[in-house]
């Protein structure tokens, strides 16, 4: 089979698996698990084959046109370059891991068939986005991902948190998708095609695009929605109300990375506008620093990871803002691996501890011994997150910081990167270094609170399924060792070196160590406090399904701690470190309240107005239209007496009148 055929099969297999799963889910429960796992595994294997065959060489571009679509043709196009091949491998591997993990995590869930089918459908859509060479086809995958995310976040729809989170995720991403759609149309109108290679040719040709800034900013809005960048990031922390495997797949490794990947594909379009790059850099900086602060203050372990994801996506956006898509996609892949690992590990930890609250875990001793696999893999993944060498996160983050430094100092390589404004470089560099400090801090806080708790022994809730732990070790491999690829990757990407430079390495690692050590010191100080003040409860259902524990943890968190994500724990090291910033950071800097005041309330008021107009004004006409004939009918009905003589009298009177009229007419004529 040719590489193109294989590449077509990659998104097609999970799609067929999803269709079969949805059709057979009820009738043949025995087929559900194979139908969920095998197509995804096969797609992952094929993605590896495609990557090996493509090998970072020439871009493979294949297209077929099903039907003419007017002035701007839409093709079923594939565009395989090094980025697409590697990201597809990541998606395939993480999706396979998540499907395997889900068989253990949701082993008794009655809605598992539809869940697995939706995950397969999501995988298929993501692979379509990755491979697609046509923006319209890409948009199809983009929107399917959105709707799958909606359904999967709302998987526990019995809980209020999941219901509102799913709607919020859907609406906020759609809010970004509207300008995104306009941006796509404007781009296609300028370039005359939806094909990516045609657009790239137009972007780098002599004239360039007509409205590069407008297009870039419109597209950026959609990317901000999908990739959870400030100010549209608020849906991602709330989306943690979904099952943990979904958080790992969609909200850490793949869907949120789609926005970054999209910019990476169309980077020449963005670099054509310096203003768009500055905006992107500022957005990335605000996202990075803000989310790192917020992650410091969260109590729900998954929300810590969610804010961490937002921050790491900010790194990727920052890399793109300084025009280095190699670094961005490098960080995307390594982050996808270690963040998926962190989420899946967090799922194990939550199931073992019976709570998702860090404050409760901090008062539990011996949790690390209960879940040794999760403990070791998560430790390494947190080190990778904090960018401690020699793990994957170090290399990818250094690549980003190095690119920013290059852009800031202005001695960048030739090519389109030469247009990068130095301000963007400085913004990304400074905020990146600050975030490195904070990231190490909250990673250390997470690790210390979760695994170094002191107090009553952790409850024995039974062993987690072996498949869940096995998956952790699968993802452990790239987390620990992806850094060794740093020498090979430039061949796949744009050819620019991704090796860490000395200055940023020393600076970044130093800051990370400082952050971690400060957190440790503060933790030592506060941990004595923790013993005195008991906080939190843990569910205790031994040998139950992990998902049930998670549902209960999500449901009870607000009731116990007064907030869905934060806890009022005086023994929290984050509280001491952040000081007065802790409270706003715990509530996501009150961005939701701002949105409520700015958008929700006016919309509600407008809806009230419309309801009033409809009820009182429009309905009045409707009621009058119904009431007038009724009154008329009542008036006419009075003539209906039932007395035959009256009827006959009226009949004869009428005929007399008619006869006289006829005679008069005849006489007149």
């Amino acid at each position: 089979m040719t590489t193109t055929t294989l590449a077509v099969l990659v998104p097609l297999l999970p799609f067929l698996g999803a269709a079969a799963g949805l059709l057979l889910g009820r009738r043949a429960p025995g087929f559900v698990r194979p139908l969920a796992i095998l197509p995804t595994l096969l797609a992952a294997a094929l993605a590896v084959v495609v990557a090996v065959r493509q090998g970072g060489g020439e871009t493979i571009d294949a297209a077929t046109q099903l039907t003419p679509t007017g002035s701007v043709p839409i093709d079923l196009a594939l565009r395989l370059d090094g980025f697409a091949a590697l990201v597809a491998v990541l998606v395939g591997i993480v999706a396979s891991c998540v499907q395997l993990y889900s068989t253990g995590y949701l082993r008794n869930d009655p809605r598992y068939p539809s869940y697995a089918a939706l995950v397969s459908l999501f995988t298929s859509a993501m692979l379509l986005v990755v491979y697609s060479g046509d923006l319209m086809v890409l948009l199809v995958g983009w929107e399917i991902m959105g709707i799958c995310s909606y359904f999967l976040v709302g998987h526990y729809w019995e809980t209020e948190a999941a219901r509102s989170a799913s709607i919020k995720a859907f609406l906020v991403t759609k809010l970004g998708d509207v300008p995104f759609l306009f941006g796509l149309f404007a781009l296609a109108a300028d370039a005359g095609t939806f094909r990516i290679n045609g657009i790239l040719t137009a972007a780098v040709s002599g004239d360039g695009l007509d409205h590069p800034t407008l297009i870039a900013l419109l597209l950026l809005a959609g990317v901000a929605g999908k990739s959870a960048q400030f100010p549209l990031h608020t849906w991602l922390p709330d989306a943690m109300a979904g099952p943990t495997p979904v958080s790992a797949l969609i909200h850490a490794a793949t869907m949120v990375a789609a926005g970054v990947y999209f910019i990476a594909r169309l980077l020449p379009v963005f670099t054509a506008s310096a203003a768009a790059l500055i905006v992107m850099a500022a957005m990335a900086a605000a996202t990075m620093v803000g989310s790192a602060l917020a992650a410091f203050a969260q109590d729900d372990i998954k929300r810590v990871l969610a804010y961490s994801t937002v921050g790491q996506l900010g790194y990727m956006t920052g890399a793109l803002a300084v025009g280095d898509r190699g670094a961005a996609v490098f960080h995307l892949i390594s982050h996808g691996a270690f963040k998926a690992l962190l989420f899946l590990g967090a799922g194990v930890v939550i199931a073992a501890a019976g709570t998702n609250s860090l404050a409760a875990m901090a008062r539990m001793s011996g949790l690390a011994r209960r879940v040794p696999d999760a403990f070791w893999t998560m430790t390494v993944a947190l080190l990778a997150l904090a960018a401690i060498p020699p793990f994957a996160g170090f290399f990818s983050k250094e690549a980003v910081l190095g690119a920013a430094e290059t852009a800031a100092l202005g001695h960048g390589p030739t090519g389109h990167a030469a247009h990068i404004p130095g301000a963007a470089g400085w913004i990304v560099l400074v905020s990146g270094l600050l975030t490195a400090l904070l990231t190490a801090g909250y990673a250390a806080r997470l690790w210390l609170l979760a695994f170094r708790g002191q107090g009553t022994p952790a409850p024995d809730l039974g062993r987690q399924p072996a498949v869940m732990n096995a998956v952790l070790w699968v993802l452990f491999v790239p987390t620990a060792a992806f850094g060794v690829c740093v020498g090979l990757l430039p061949d796949w990407f744009d050819g620019r070196s991704l090796a860490p430079t000395l200055a940023t390495s020393v600076l970044g690692t130093g800051l990370a160590l400082v952050g971690a050590l400060v957190t440790y010191a503060v933790w030592r100080h506060t941990t004595a406090l923790a013993r005195k003040i008991p906080v939190g409860v843990a569910a205790a259902h031994p040998h139950t399904e992990p998902a049930l524990t998670e549902i209960e943890a999500i449901e009870t968190h607000e009731a116990v701690y007064g907030d869905i994500g934060a806890a009022d724990d005086p023994a929290d090291p984050g509280r001491l470190i952040l000081g007065p910033l802790h409270r706003p950071a715990a509530h996501g800097f009150h961005l939701d309240a701002v949105y409520a005041a700015l958008f929700v309330r006016p919309v509600r008021a407008a809806a009230e107005l419309v309801r009033f107009l409809d009820r009182e004004v429009v309905d009045t006409y409707v009621r009058a239209a119904g009431g007038a004939p009724r009154l008329l009918g009542a008036a006419v009905r009075r003539a209906q007496t039932g007395n035959v003589q009256t009827y006959l009298g009226a009949l004869l009177a009428g005929s007399v009148v008619l006869a006289i009229a006829a005679v008069l007419l005849a006489a007149g004529a």
């Binding site: 009905r637 209906q640 007496t641 039932g642 007395n643 035959v644 003589q645 006959l648 009298g649 004869l652």
Partner: protein, 141 residues
Amino acid sequence: MHLAYPAVLAVLLFCTGLYGVLARRNAILVLMSVELMLNAVNLNLVAFDVWLRDTLHAGQALTLFTIAIAAAEIGIGLAIVLLVHRNRGSSDIDRLRDLAEPPGGPGTRPGSGTGLGAGPGQDAEEAPQQTTSARQSEAAA
């Protein structure tokens, strides 16, 4: 003889009968008025037949037929009136108002106040012509 005399007499008789039909309450009086109207028509027929000197004498023949039909009509009519009277206890035309829609709109049954007090309500609803054996056996049951 002037043709206007029988014609005007016929008109006046007809209108007298018309008044009787519309104004009388008792059904038998109404039937009498109908007879007056028929006779007015007969007078017209005879007068015009005589005036036209028709060889077929269609007018007179029609008059004979009308008289026969009037006899039949009065027989049937009286039978109906008797039946109504037997079922309702009254032969007053303006009390037979079952054709009217009840005040509450369609679907509600009319009150028994329009008919006589006795007898089930559904009897009062049926047309008087329907009162044959089935109806009476039902009433007897």
